[in-house]
Symmetry: C2
Subunit: 221 residues, 2 copies
DNA sequence: AAACGGCGTTTGTGATCACAGACTGTGGCC
DNA sequence: GGCCACAGTCTGTGATCACAAACGCCGTTT
């Protein structure tokens, strides 16, 4: 039996988590992995029945995600996945170009070989998702790659900001990636890994910056 | 009759805003202006009766602020103003040092004289708050100065991230500023204004960076 | 005197309900 | 044919309530 994408009953380790937390994670993953189309409308009651809870915890989860920019609520309170203008996308890209090289540079002195090997393996997963043209899979594994590296930076606030940016761009990224498929992503990742192995901070900053900006910039132009 | 600091009945323009929005703004300002001590406990019912609403809108506002890092909730759900470690404070300072010079640089080409004059006036207000040793007033006017400049950058996402950092540091800043009072803040601000008038981007970046890092760094060491 | 145990109180959580506003689609009118 | 008005439905909002867990206080014990 295949696992249901949205279990009405809490299963496994999630059983003891508060309902609003489960709803939050569920929605967050959908957004982050590009499973929601930009502008797609959501309703409190709909999400509640779908996830097997009442409106109350759903409201809290939605409010939380809206605060992170992951969802947008209209003046009248309607909830939807955000639609980003090109200027906004460029801004998000330049924020990534600002924060992520810094996170990489901070992770560099703490990145031992075991970590680099794990990143290498993750990069293979990114590759697989690309050849299978599995867009959500590509987005997910790509972000996992970056996140695993940045975790070593020991900078939780900076990482939280960065993930907030990913979240904001999630739905739009998906919609854009559906049109053009990237393959130079793994090339950039290989450059990142090489700089990591060499302990080359300027090279690492450059490689991360290239990876981040190429991904978004070429989707606009 | 003096205006109550926390009106139980919505007054003026706020009357038509949703209750959760009013609660959010009320709490946000208290945090941002350093009116809450780090670790100070808050309760949903307490805030509700104080602000004249039920628990429901308070819960949404608190959840939203917690998502921005402005409040911390324990594993058991207790709400309090966050207590930041020194490492965390340093991290927040370096994030400010990363984002704010960029915001300033983007605002620079759009900063006409009227704006600079307004900033000058605001800087006088900062000065007044300092000589009166009005700590919340100093924090508030100082942030107003920065915010007014950054608004010209036309980078809403970057500004939102920056304000989130201010929010996170709010209570701790207050607790630290209560001990030592800064006076070179206005000197840095004057350097910012001079660079703005001269159209000197590198100088502006440097001045903002100095203003931001001096404020926090010297409170730690 | 310090640590432990127990109980009353306080606190967050989640469900339910009444209500007002917004949206949808349908019909009639110009 | 296109535009507008109206009604029905859907949606978010906020209050209230029952409940379980956590906290704090106080008396007892070692």
């Amino acid at each position: 039996m295949t696992p249901s994408p949205a279990p009405a009953q809490p299963t496994g380790a999630d059983a003891q988590l508060p309902a609003h937390e489960r709803v939050y994670r569920q929605l967050r993953n959908r957004i982050l992995w590009g499973l929601l189309m930009p502008g797609a409308p959501l309703t409190l009651r709909g999400l509640g029945t779908e996830l097997g809870v009442s409106m109350t915890p759903v409201r809290e989860a939605v409010r939380r995600l809206a605060a992170e920019g992951a969802l947008s609520v209209s003046a009248s309170g309607r909830i939807s996945a955000p639609e980003l203008s090109d200027e906004r996308l460029e801004e998000l890209a330049s924020i990534r170009a600002l924060l992520e090289p810094e996170l990489g540079a901070r992770a560099l002195p703490r990145a031992h070989l075991a970590l680099i090997d794990r990143l290498d393996i993750m990069n293979h997963r990114v590759d697989e998702a690309i050849v299978k043209t599995d867009v959500p899979g590509y987005i997910r594994t790509n972000l996992e790659f970056h996140r695993t590296l940045y975790l070593r930076a020991q900078a939780p606030a900076m990482l939280a900001l960065t993930e907030s940016i990913w979240l904001q761009a999630g739905p739009t990224m998906r919609a854009l990636y559906a049109r053009r498929q990237r393959s130079e992503a793994t090339a950039n990742h290989r450059k990142i890994l090489a700089a990591l192995r060499a302990g080359d901070e300027p090279g690492l900053r450059l490689a991360i910056r290239a990876d981040v900006t190429q991904g978004l910039r070429m989707l606009i132009g």
